[in-house]
């Protein structure tokens, strides 16, 4: 090759690398294959994320909607989404958008999130002014419509906006569903036009946060810092991970990926969190499959749910991955994988693989009380067995907890709280001065 040609070739490569860097700002450490995948996602979807964001800011400029921005005081960290765009994850000053199923049937899930936030001195606000996203109901029954779904989303987002705390979504379905609803509000004028008068009736306007953020993304962002406080060694533990469908298949391009986790080919959370806490990630052939929750099925057609969870998820995780623990990051998945194993015993399938949410897994490793904080007594699988393997003094904790329950029953003990109790009036009205009152009580941090 003559010098001129070589120079031209080098220029082409240089130019190409510059273009890649421009199009995919976080492309360092990615292979060409990874970039190729992201090109497909970025340009394959007609309503790609870059377009949604562009339209969002146009609507903000026109004054049609209010955008709840992530501010420097939210200490955001940057990650890449599936299509290579940057996604900001706020790490503090967070408004807790709780999950129906977590609060109802796995209360140790949100309490573990709050406990970890206390330990990491994260500022947060948990209020009685939040409703369900109604996504579970919608996907189960179809009894809703796009305007109602948008109304529920915007009402919750308004409550977060007026407190200046950035919404952090606990439920995987809420997260996926809100991404979809956000896109519909931005792209469909008809929805905005029908929604606005409804919001006005409640003295609200249309607010759309800059990002829809799942707590597992926050958990991953904080996992190295959190793992620095871990008290138990899990390096000999094999962890199978189930990444919830609604996290990465519903509006797939808006979920974080990281080259450090499964070479950037599977979502960063919760696998990366488990990895950063030191457990050995194990693979199994159905890692991508649904847990079997089904929304309607878990409530009214559980024979499907039980069979699917056991045969398509638990058995491959144990038989192929030899997992000691199943970690996941959504309401329905924890419930389904945990509750579906007991009935299998009747047919000789006694797997009893312990199931935990990533937040519970992290909190227990960081030394949280597995009963008062982790609330593992609500789980049907052998979580105690897993804790014994890693050296948690389960029996001591259990004895204390049984005594605590007895004392509560007899009125000898007062309930313990992770943050100050709300006032009585907060259970009735949504008052503007509620945040300043709360801050005067000392905020969250175990006070």
């Amino acid at each position: 090759m003559v010098n001129g040609e070589k120079l031209a070739q080098e220029n082409v490569e240089k130019k190409m690398n510059e273009e890649i860097k421009d199009a995919f700002p976080m492309s360092d450490g990615l292979t060409w294959d990874d970039i190729y995948q992201r090109v497909i996602y970025r340009y394959g979807s007609p309503h790609n994320l870059a377009h949604i964001k562009e339209e969002l800011y146009k609507l903000e400029d026109k004054g049609e909607i209010i955008v709840h921005h992530i501010k420097p005081y939210n200490n955001p960290m940057e990650f890449q989404s599936l299509n290579g765009l940057t996604k900001k994850i706020p790490t503090t000053k967070l408004w807790q958008h709780k999950s129906c199923g977590q609060c109802g049937h796995i209360p140790g899930y949100p309490t573990s999130v709050f406990w970890i936030m206390n330990k990491l001195e994260v500022d947060y606000l948990d209020e009685p002014h939040q409703t369900s996203c109604t996504g579970w109901n919608y996907h189960a029954s179809g009894a809703s419509n796009p305007v109602a779904l948008a109304g529920v989303y915007v009402r919750n987002m308004w409550r977060a906006y007026e407190t200046d705390y950035f919404p952090l979504i606990h439920c995987g379905t809420s997260f996926g569903h809100y991404k979809e609803v956000r896109n519909s509000i931005i792209l469909e004028k008809e929805i905005r036009d029908k929604l606005r008068p409804i919001m006005r009736k409640m003295d609200m306007d249309i607010v759309v946060p800059e990002e829809v953020v799942h707590y597992s993304e926050w958990m991953y962002a904080m996992s190295k810092k959190a793992a620095a406080q871990k008290k138990y060694d899990v390096s000999n533990m094999k962890a199978a991970v189930h990444t919830p469908c609604h996290i990465y298949k519903l509006v797939p391009e808006d979920t974080i990926y990281d080259g450090e986790v499964w070479q950037g080919r599977r979502p960063a959370a919760p696998s990366g969190t488990v990895q950063n806490f030191g457990a050995k990630l194990v693979d199994y052939s159905t890692w991508w499959d649904c847990c079997g929750f089904g929304f309607r099925h878990i409530l009214t057609e559980r024979e499907f749910t039980r069979s699917f969870a056991l045969f398509k998820k638990v058995m491959p995780a144990v038989n192929e991955g030899h997992a000691d623990i199943f970690v996941t990051s959504d309401t329905g998945c924890v419930t389904t994988l945990d509750k579906s194993q007991w009935a299998g015993k009747a047919h000789g399938f006694d797997y009893n693989l312990p199931v935990l949410a990533d937040a519970q897994f992290g909190a227990i490793l960081m030394g949280a009380d597995p009963y008062t904080v982790g609330q593992i007594h609500w789980h049907a699988t052998d979580v105690e067995g897993f804790m014994r393997k890693i050296g948690v003094p389960v029996d001591d904790y259990k004895e204390k907890f049984i005594q605590y329950l007895q004392d509560l029953r007899e009125g000898k003990a007062e309930p313990q709280y992770l943050y100050p109790k709300h006032r009585k009036i907060d259970f009735y009205l949504t008052l503007p001065e509620r945040v300043s009152w709360y801050k005067k009580q000392g905020g969250q941090a175990n006070k």
């Binding site: 709780k98 179809g142 469908c245 609500w378 309930p415």
Partner: protein, 280 residues
């Protein structure tokens, strides 16, 4: 000398072997009268239903084409257990086959588990699980028999989510309704009050709601469902449920207005209020 086998000629039209129809024939889709496959009493509503679905803004957005490749069905959890497959639905939609869409909506659409695996994998970027939701949503709006059947065991959940702002409650786990969740669930249900008291967040300590939403929040939620027209759909599906929700809405809205008025005038004595509006 062996006799030469003579094969009967096949028609050129590949649609000759359209397995979606019981009677096979050379009739092309353009000539096929989809309505003839519907019962006379169902024709009008089936046509109206399909027209409404096609007019929804999501329909054109979500349906983009189909290679008939079957990637959707091959990874579909529901297809492994039920006589159901997303590919067949997309094919009926592509063909504008009102009769098959009607049959699919009334028999199969509720099998989908809404995992969105099909949507993520579709080479045509069809939002398949979203199209299923559009069919489900319109079957509720049209109060179709399958929607009534599906929602019958689900009515308590609907009542809870619309009136309290929570989808599920801790006390719904009862030994007779969730026996398959094992002895742990029985233990919880027997001692639910003290177990909930031991949850270290005040919003999570009741047994009848997942978390305790404020009265204002619960009323706002109902307002959204009423104003957006969702409650009207329920009238057709479950009139008793509709009446119950509307009664609760009117009563709680009035209570909220009275409380707000007193608060603004500085006349509200917090001590006189019960700990929770749920006990009023």
């Amino acid at each position: 000398m062996a006799t030469k086998t003579v094969f009967a000629p096949l028609p050129d039209d590949p649609r000759y072997m359209d397995m979606a129809y019981d009677i096979q024939g050379a009739e092309s889709e353009e000539q096929r009268n989809f309505l003839s496959n519907l019962k006379p009493e169902e024709r009008e509503v089936a046509v109206k239903f399909w027209k409404a679905v096609k007019e929804d803004h999501r329909f054109n957005d979500y349906l983009r084409g189909c290679l008939n490749c079957g990637v959707c069905t091959s990874s579909c959890p529901a297809a492994k257990f039920y006589d159901f497959g997303p590919r067949e639905m997309i094919q009926y939609m592509m063909r504008d086959a009102v009769d098959k869409i009607w049959e699919f909506t009334n028999k199969k659409v509720w099998a989908c588990v809404q995992c969105f695996t099909c949507s993520m994998r579709c080479p045509f970027n069809n939002e398949i699980a979203g199209l299923i939701m559009v069919l489900r949503e319109y079957s509720v709006r049209f109060a179709l028999p399958s929607a009534k059947e599906i929602l019958a065991p689900y009515r308590r959940i609907l009542l809870t989510v619309i009136t309290t702002g929570n989808q599920v409650t801790p006390d719904m786990i009862q030994p007779d309704t969730f026996p398959d969740w094992g002895p742990q669930a029985v233990e919880e249900s027997k001692n639910m009050t003290v177990y909930r008291q031991a949850v270290p967040v005040d919003l999570l300590q009741r047994t009848d709601v997942g978390w305790h939403a404020s009265l204002q929040t619960a009323v706002e939620m109902m307002t959204i469902f009423v104003e957006s027209g969702v409650i009207e759909y329920l009238k057709g599906v479950d009139k008793d449920l509709y009446d119950m929700i509307m009664d609760i809405y009117e009563e709680r809205k009035q209570t909220l207005e009275d409380l707000k008025e007193k608060w603004e005038k500085g006349e509200l004595n917090e001590d006189e209020l019960p700990d929770s509006w749920l006990d009023m």
